[in-house]
């Protein structure tokens, strides 16, 4: 017999209360002279035997009440495993405790607490001569206590154990547990598995483990499978949340797609799903979930301003496994890009104006760019630091002072778009601003009367990423009559990434990095003088994305999605500056730089919001990210008892007993409460009689 709350047994001392009252509360009777004493005597004689019986009955009933209540509160239970293990002789024993996410399922009392209780009871039931080890079974097996006789260590490790956020690797854990028993001189091996037996934790296509005796002989271990879960573990979970901007709906419009999955046996109707922005519910939706089905809900939200927002999709009514009923991510809504356009060849006729087409592209509906156009004389009166991107459109070579301003602008993280034209003198530019140029100008080339087209583009680059299939047709249809040839790259020059290459192998668009600053080099005109690109549908997205890349707003349009239990690559170009990541619990995780130069966190242990720490320990909200629970962890589908028996049936002795079955068999505390209630009722009746 085991007890769920053994300290309640202290209450059994209350059974002495009726006796103590009987012994110490015998009040001195009042002395009363009475004339009809003969009648008193006669009455007493007549009722003496009945009274004696009544007194004994009352005493017994009250003692029973005082015994039954604390005994019931102690939750006694007959344990299956103990009987099985005690009848087969001594065995080296390994206790495997399931730490899968499903153990967080709770119907008022978490499954994991039951698992700890079962494991404790199993350890208590061991004979003193039986050595035991404890394996905590999370994503990987962990030998918490090696084989030995330290029962206190086992109980302490059990007490400190907590459920994880991933499915458990039970097969590996069983192998590992069997391995801990190898050194024991005893002739038998036993594995006690305390688990919820979910399908994601135990693979039935893998054979049960084998153990070895001290002489190396392979033996089949006894497996006592203590299934602590009820017959089913119904669960609904948010298994996905995706965010993407919707520029066609507005500058700050985003679309959120939430995926909800049911792991319950029945259908669920009108489950409420909320969209929360920074904790406030901004949208509600109702969804129907079929048995084992997935439902997608799409929310569109127009953010009131730019900034960093915490977006959460949450099922309004939590179920027994509440941790997977919501999913969050960080959305960085960029502010509008401010671009300064220096028009090197202004004209009163729009189609002849150098900046007209760029200005129109940036001013188009849904564009995240706010453009300001100036001629070269007026442009240098502007403070470049007020802008995110600088467009030098067919501008003559700048003076050294202007070059210095451009360099400062780049060093602060600004972006420069440079296009050529008749005003661009290659020698003058090379001399004045060679440091800025990704490659030095060579000479202007004329490609016949029909011009040449684009041979290839680099789709890996964020600017060019949308130009796929039909979207690239405009770009490839454009004809380039003239363009500037570039010198080959120098060894010490900053790397220049060709984004668009023409048919003859000449570079058309080159991207380069200068410290924090970015440069885009377009070696033709941005009007109709040298090409007809401006007339194709590709021109507008090319210019808008160029402005976005230069200002950095393209960098992290997709929120970083992290998963608990996995390492996460910090998706920021500045990630090398991160000194660590602060977990939701406050723990600081180190950041490691991988061979390819990206910064990576160690596997994330808990769900929630993580903050990237800069070297000065400050955080930047736009770098924050959420770690969510892996969808498979939410799958609480149970292995059917017959399948489990079939799997374990390959070994000599298996015990599976679900909590439901045990409850049906031994409702000990319910019975005790009923007994106490009946005794209380009879006591009341007897007292009144």
């Amino acid at each position: 017999m085991t007890f769920g709350a053994p300290w309640m047994l202290l209450g059994l001392a209350a059974a002495l209360i009726p006796l103590l009252i009987h012994l110490f509360d015998r009040r001195r009777p009042r002395r009363v002279p009475f004339a009809a004493l003969a009648f008193v005597l006669r009455s007493q004689r007549r009722t003496a035997s009945r009274l004696k019986l009544k007194r004994i009955l009352l005493y017994a009933l009250r003692t029973l009440i005082f015994l039954a209540i604390p005994l019931a509160l102690a939750q006694p239970r007959w344990r299956h495993g103990a009987k099985v293990t005690s009848t087969r002789g001594l065995a080296a024993t390994a206790v495997v405790l399931d730490q899968s996410f499903a153990l967080r399922w709770s119907d008022g009392r978490p499954l994991f607490a039951r698992a700890q209780e079962e494991a404790r009871a199993a350890i208590r039931a061991l004979a003193p001569e039986e050595p035991a080890s404890l394996i905590l079974c999370g994503e990987r097996p962990a030998i918490a206590v090696p084989l030995g006789f330290d029962r206190g260590g086992l109980f302490t490790a059990l007490q400190l154990a907590a459920p994880g956020y991933r499915p458990a690797a039970l097969n590996q854990c069983l192998e590992s547990a069997a391995g801990t028993l190898d050194a024991s001189p005893l002739g038998r091996r036993r594995l006690i598995v305390v688990s919820a037996a979910t399908a994601t934790s135990l693979r039935l296509d893998v054979s049960p483990p084998r153990a070895h005796l001290a002489n190396g002989q392979e033996v089949v271990p006894d497996i006592d499978f203590l299934d602590i879960a009820p017959t089913s573990l119904p669960n609904r979970a948010l298994v996905g949340l995706r965010a993407e901007p919707v520029p066609e709906l507005g500058l700050r419009s985003w679309r959120f797609t939430a995926l909800t999955r049911s792991f319950a046996s029945g259908a669920s109707r009108d489950a409420q799903l909320n969209l929360e922005i920074d904790g406030a519910v901004v949208a509600k939706s109702f969804l129907n979930l079929e048995e084992q089905g997935t439902t997608q809900k799409v929310f569109t939200y127009d953010f009131p301003g730019s900034g960093v927002f915490e977006v959460t999709a949450r099922l309004a009514r939590s179920d027994a496994l509440a941790e997977d009923d919501h999913r969050s991510l960080i959305v960085n809504v960029p502010r509008p890009t401010r671009a300064l356009l220096i028009n090197g060849a202004p004209s009163s006729q729009k189609y002849r104006d150098e900046a007209y087409f760029v200005e129109s592209a940036l001013a188009a509906s849904g564009s995240p760019v706010k453009a300001t156009t100036r001629d070269p004389d007026a442009a240098w009166n502007e403070n470049l630091m007020d802008f995110d991107a600088l467009f030098l459109l067919n501008v003559a070579a700048p003076s050294s002072e202007h070059v210095q301003r451009i360099e400062r602008f780049l060093s602060k993280g600004g972006g420069v778009f440079l296009s050529v034209g008749d005003n661009v003198n290659p020698e003058a530019w090379n001399a004045a601003a060679g440091w800025i140029l990704p490659r030095k100008f060579r000479v202007v080339k004329t490609a016949g009367t029909t011009g040449i087209g684009v041979r290839r583009i680099s789709q890996a680059h964020p600017i060019m990423a949308p130009f796929v299939e039909r979207a690239r047709e405009g770009l490839f249809a454009a004809r380039f009559l003239r363009f500037m040839l570039l010198e080959p790259g120098e060894a010490d020059a900053a790397p220049a990434e060709p984004l668009v290459v023409l048919d003859d192998g000449a570079l058309l668009l080159v991207a380069s990095q200068r410290g924090k600053g970015r440069i885009l080099f377009f070696v033709s005109t941005v009007d109709r003088d040298w090409n007809d690109l401006v007339l194709t549908p590709s021109f507008l997205p090319l210019i808008q994305r160029s402005a976005g890349w230069l200002s950095g707003t393209l960098d992290r349009q997709e929120p970083l999605q992290a998963t608990v239990g996995e390492p996460t690559e910090l998706a920021t170009p500045d990630s090398q500056l991160a000194s660590g990541v602060k977990a939701p619990s406050g723990a600081i995780l180190p950041v490691v730089v991988t061979a390819d130069g990206t910064s990576q966190t160690p596997p994330l242990r808990e769900p929630g919001r993580y903050r990237v720490l800069e070297p000065d320990e400050t955080t930047r909200p736009e770098l924050d990210f959420f770690a969510n629970i892996e969808p498979t962890a939410s799958d609480t589908t149970r292995i059917p008892e017959t399948d489990l028996k079939t799997w374990t049936g390959q070994t000599a002795s298996i015990e599976t007993a679900t909590v439901d079955a045990r409850r049906r068999a031994f409702p000990a505390w319910t019975f005790l409460f009923m007994l106490a209630a009946v005794a209380f009722f009879i006591e009341g009746v007897l007292v009144r009689k």
């Binding site: 002395r31 002279p33 004339a35 009648f39 007493q44 007549r46």
Partner: protein, 293 residues
């Protein structure tokens, strides 16, 4: 309506004063004493024959008719009442203002007062642990004082042999006496009713005032109690709650048995609780007597 309640009477110290208070209350409510023992009702005239009482010759009829006529009366008695007071220890019990003995003495004295007031004879016998004290019936007004003194000096103590005393009284009292017994009828042998029957067999008219304290009828005790006897050293500790039902059953059975036995023997039976108004008790008794005439 009670003229004087028991509590008030209890505060009146002397028996004489108590009796006066009770009797005045009774007399003020009566026009004619129903306890008249001597009948003087004229029945008929009879012509004188030798041997008739000369004192019954009607001289007025002789003057009218010149013949001797003798007056004949319908009934001719003289009431001789004896008050029998049980002064055993149990009669000393009382939870109100008066004990059962106090009540018995007051009732007896009040009755004696009424009887002597109308020229009937009244006596008293006090039955105590020692030998009975008996004052024979007399009709002299000064006799009342003697009765009161005897009653005043009697106390409840020890046990009494009520049956033997009643048998002895039955033989000694003049025939056709009126006997009023004031007792709680507690007798271990339960033979007290046989003594009453022997009184009836000697043609005595018997009235029994069965005196009971309310506590003896309702048993109003809750906590564990050590009950001690009022006649000897016996005692008994009980939890009254445990035996209340049984006790009440016993006492009801006792009262029913006493009443039915008295009625069977042709006695007047009256249960008197010590918390009852005494004038009401006496008026009820007198009314009963009046209805019999």
């Amino acid at each position: 309506m009670a003229i004087l309640d028991v509590a008030t009477l209890g505060r009146i110290g002397g028996l004489k004063l108590r009796v006066r208070a009770v009797v005045e209350g009774i007399l003020s409510g009566l026009h004619k004493s129903p306890l008249q023992g001597q009948s003087v009702e004229f029945a008929e005239h009879k012509e004188y024959a030798p041997g008739d009482e000369l004192r019954h010759l009607d001289w007025k009829a002789f003057g009218k008719f010149d013949r001797y006529y003798v007056k004949r009366f319908e009934h001719e008695t003289n009431l001789r009442a004896t008050m029998v007071i049980d002064a055993s220890g149990s009669m000393g019990f009382g939870t109100g203002g008066l004990s059962k003995l106090d009540l018995a003495k007051t009732l007896a004295a009040a009755l004696a007062h009424v009887l002597i007031h109308q020229q009937d004879s009244a006596g008293v016998t006090v039955l105590s642990a020692e030998s009975p004290v008996t004052i024979p019936p007399r009709s002299a007004p000064t006799h009342l004082q003697t009765i009161l003194e005897v009653l005043e000096n009697s106390n409840a103590d020890g046990g009494t042999d009520l049956v033997s005393a009643l048998k002895m009284l039955a033989e000694r009292l003049p025939r056709r006496s009126f006997v009023c017994i004031f007792s709680d009828l507690f007798d271990e042998r339960a033979e007290v009713l046989r003594g009453i029957t022997s009184l009836r067999s000697h043609k005595h008219e018997v009235a029994i005032f069965h005196l009971m304290d309310p506590a003896e009828i309702t048993f109003p005790y809750d906590d564990p109690t050590l009950f001690t006897s009022m006649e000897d050293d016996a005692n008994n500790e009980v939890n009254p709650r445990d035996i209340r039902d049984s006790y009440l059953q016993e006492i009801r059975s006792f009262l029913d048995k006493a009443k039915s036995a008295c009625e069977l023997a042709g006695c007047h039976y009256q249960l008197v609780r010590t918390d009852e108004a005494l004038d009401e008790v006496l008026l009820r008794f007198i009314a009963h007597r009046g209805s019999r005439r």
